[in-house]
Symmetry: C2
C-alpha cells in the first residue's frame, strides 16, 4: 500500500424526504444563492421544495450553469455573489452545478484574479464560501469531494482544480430526485461512475487489499443495478444504490493508498471539448481501447478484474483479458452508449485533432506510470476508431 492522506469532511444526508433537512443544514441567518443548471430544478418541483425548506432566509437564484460549466458563466455568478453579499451557496443539480459552485465559492473572495484558480489548479485557494449541495444526478461524485473541472469557453479548454477549502459542507442525496432524469443521463451516470472506479483500480497491484475489494464491490454493484436503473426509473432501491455508489466511486476512499491512472479522463476531456460529446460517453470510447493498449502494464489488475468483477476464470491470460474488455464494452453498449469513435462519425482526422490538443495542453505523460505520451495516446485513439 502506498502512503496516503485521506480527509473528507462532507456530511451526507441520504434518503427520501431529506431535502427538508436543509432547514437545519443551512445556517439560520445565511444569505443564500441557489445555483441551478437549466429549468429542470424548477419543473420537477425540487427548487420549490428547497425554497420551502430554507424558510425565511434570504434566497437568490443563479440559473444557467451549463454541462461542463464555463468560466464565463461562473464569473457572472461570482459577480452576483459579490453584489448581493451572499454568504452561502447551495448547488441544486448534478456534477456540473456542484463543480460550478466550488469555483464560485473559491472565486468570490479570492485574492487576485479568479482565473488564477484555474491556472494553479487551486493551489493558492486559502478560503471559500461555505456551500452545500442537493444532488439530482448521480454520476460525477462532485457532491462528496473537493475537485472541480471548469471549461474556458473561449478556447474549449477543460481546467481542473482542487482545494481542501471546496469540500461541500453537506450534500443531500434523495434518490427520488433522480426519477425524472432522462434515460440518457442515467446511462451516462453509470458509465461515469464505472470509469471513476477503474481509473483508481486498473493500474498495478500494491497489495491494497481493502481498496481493491471496495473498488470491485462498486463495479459489481453498478453492473448489477444497471438494467433496472434504466428500465425502472422509480425503483427506489436501485436508484439509492446508484446514487450512493456514484458518490463512493470518487470520494477519495478507493483511491487512498493506490496508484491512479486518469488518462481516460484526460483524453476524453479533449473529445468533449472538440466534439461536444458527453463526458461519460467519451470515457466509454477511450477506456476499452486504453486497457487494450496498456494491457501488459496493467496485466495483473486486468486479470483480477476479469476474475472478480466478471467471473472470468477460463482461458489463457490474454483470453481472460480479452473477455473482460469485451464484457466492459458490452456493458457500456447495453446502456446505449457507443464505445467507438465511428459511432460519432469520427475518424483519423479526429485522432489527429485530439492528439494535437493533448500536446497543446501538455498532456504528454499520462497514466499511472506517466508513460502515455502522444504516441501512446494516438495508439489508444486508433484502437477506438
Amino acid at each position: 500500500m502506498l502512503n496516503f492522506d485521506f480527509y473528507n469532511p462532507t456530511r451526507i444526508v441520504f434518503g427520501e424526504g431529506t431535502v427538508a433537512q436543509l432547514a437545519q443544514l443551512v445556517p439560520p441567518a445565511a444569505r443564500v444563492l441557489i445555483l441551478v443548471g437549466g429549468a429542470s430544478a424548477e419543473k420537477t418541483g425540487t427548487l420549490a421544495e428547497v425554497r420551502a425548506a430554507l424558510g425565511a432566509r434570504s434566497v437568490n437564484v443563479f440559473s444557467g450553469i451549463e454541462p461542463n460549466p464555463s468560466y464565463e458563466t461562473l464569473m457572472r455568478a461570482v459577480d452576483q455573489v459579490r453584489g448581493q453579499d451572499i454568504d452561502f451557496l447551495l448547488a441544486v443539480g448534478g456534477g456540473s452545478v456542484i463543480d460550478g459552485a466550488k469555483f464560485v465559492a473559491a472565486a468570490a473572495h479570492y485574492e487576485g484574479d479568479p482565473w488564477n484558480i484555474l491556472e494553479t489548479g487551486g493551489a493558492k485557494i486559502t478560503r471559500a464560501l461555505p456551500f452545500g449541495a442537493v444532488l439530482t444526478l448521480p454520476a460525477t461524485g462532485s457532491e462528496m469531494n473537493n475537485g472541480s473541472v471548469v471549461t474556458l469557453k473561449a478556447t474549449q479548454t477543460k481546467l481542473p482544480f482542487r482545494s481542501v477549502h471546496v469540500f461541500p459542507q453537506f450534500s443531500v442525496l434523495d434518490p427520488t430526485k433522480t426519477y425524472t432524469l432522462p434515460t440518457k443521463q442515467v446511462a451516462n451516470g453509470l458509465v461515469d461512475a464505472f470509469v471513476h472506479i477503474t481509473e483508481q483500480y486498473l493500474t498495478y497491484p500494491v497489495q491494497a487489499l481493502a481498496q481493491d475489494r471496495f473498488a470491485e464491490g462498486l463495479l459489481q454493484t453498478l453492473v448489477e443495478i444497471a438494467p433496472q436503473a434504466i428500465a425502472a426509473p422509480e425503483d427506489y432501491a436501485t436508484r439509492s444504490n446508484l446514487m450512493w455508489t456514484a458518490s463512493l466511486a470518487l470520494n477519495g476512499l478507493i483511491g487512498a493508498g493506490v496508484p491512479q491512472d486518469w488518462a481516460t479522463h484526460m483524453i476524453g476531456h479533449e473529445l468533449t471539448a472538440l466534439y461536444d460529446i458527453d463526458h461519460a460517453r467519451t470515457l466509454a470510447i477511450v477506456l476499452p481501447a486504453l486497457l487494450d493498449v496498456q494491457r501488459d502494464k496493467k496485466r495483473a489488475k486486468l486479470l483480477q478484474y476479469a476474475q472478480r468483477v466478471w467471473g472470468i476464470d477460463a482461458g489463457s491470460e490474454d483470453e481472460r483479458i480479452d473477455a473482460a474488455l469485451a464484457a466492459t464494452r458490452h456493458f457500456f453498449e447495453s446502456l446505449g452508449i457507443p464505445t467507438r469513435l465511428a459511432a460519432y462519425g469520427l475518424g483519423t482526422a479526429a485522432v489527429n485533432a485530439v492528439v494535437g490538443q493533448l500536446g497543446a495542453h501538455g498532456m504528454t505523460r499520462l497514466g499511472e506510470h506517466g508513460d502515455i505520451d502522444l504516441a501512446v495516446s494516438r495508439a489508444i485513439l486508433e484502437a477506438a476508431l
Copy 2:
C-alpha cells in the same frame, strides 16, 4: 437502503514514517498533553519519536490509561489538563488510549459534572478539546470515529458515549508501529475488527448493495491476511492492510444505511466486566453462538455471508449456515482465540451472572430487531458454553 446521515471529518495520515508529520498536524502554539497506556510507547521509541516531531511545543505526558479505560483514571487526566492549561490532546496507543482521550477532551471543559457525559451517552457535549492520535494497535477503529467506551471501575460498568465533537482531528497510522505488538494483541485486533463488521452486516437485507460488498471485502481481507499478520510481525504490506481494514471496519461507512446489531458487544461487555476477559475474546465467544440462535432472523444475510465470504455454495440452507458458523469459529480458534466459555473455566454460574448484569444494565432489547431479551441472551450464552 435505510436513510442515513454520514459524517466523518477525521484526517488519516497513513504510512511508514508519518509520525514526523505531527510537526505540521499539531497547531504550532499548542500546549500538548500526550496520553499513553503503559510503558510500551516509551520502550518502543514511539514516544521519543512523537516528542521529536512536536519540537519546541509545550508537551506533558499522562501515563497509565488501562485497557478498558476507567473513569477514575481519566478524571486524573482531566485534572492535569485543567491544571496545566492544556489545549491539545495527543493519544499515542490503541483503542483504549484513544477512547480515553475522547472522554478527557469532552470532560475538560464540560459544563457540569463529567460523570454526566457517561450518564447521557454524550448527548450534552457541546464542545471538546481538539485531539489527534498516533495509532499503535489496530483493532477498535476508535482512531476514525466518534465513539468511546469508559468503564466505571467502582461497579465494573462499561458506559459508551458518542458525540460529533469527539472525532479525532487526525490519526497517524504507521503500520511499522505494530511490529512490536504481542501476538495476542494482534489476534485480538483481527477478531475485534471482524466482529465490528459482522455487527453491521449480519442482520437482514435492505438492498444496500455497496455496503454489503464493502463489509464482505473487509471480512475477506481479514481472513486473507490473518495467518501472515500473526506469523510475520514485520511484513509491512500485511500490517498495512490490517491497520486500514480495522479503521474502515468502524468508521461509520459500512454501517451507513443498514440495520445494526451490536448485541454481541453488549453481552461481551458484561463478560469483560465480570471476568476480565479481553474485549475481543468475549466477542469470539458470543458471536458464533448468537448467529446460531438468531439464524432464522438472519437467514438471508447468513447465506450471503456463507457464499461471498467463505465460498460455501453446497448443501441445504441450514447446512450452508452451519458451515459458515463453523468457518467463523475455526477462524477465531486458528488465531488462538477460544470460542467457548468453557475455555475460561466458566459455566452455568457465569451464564446466570451475565444475564443478571444485562438485566441490571437495562440490556433487555438488544439486536437489530430489539428482540434479544434476557431469555434470548441466556440461550446465546448457553450455546456458548
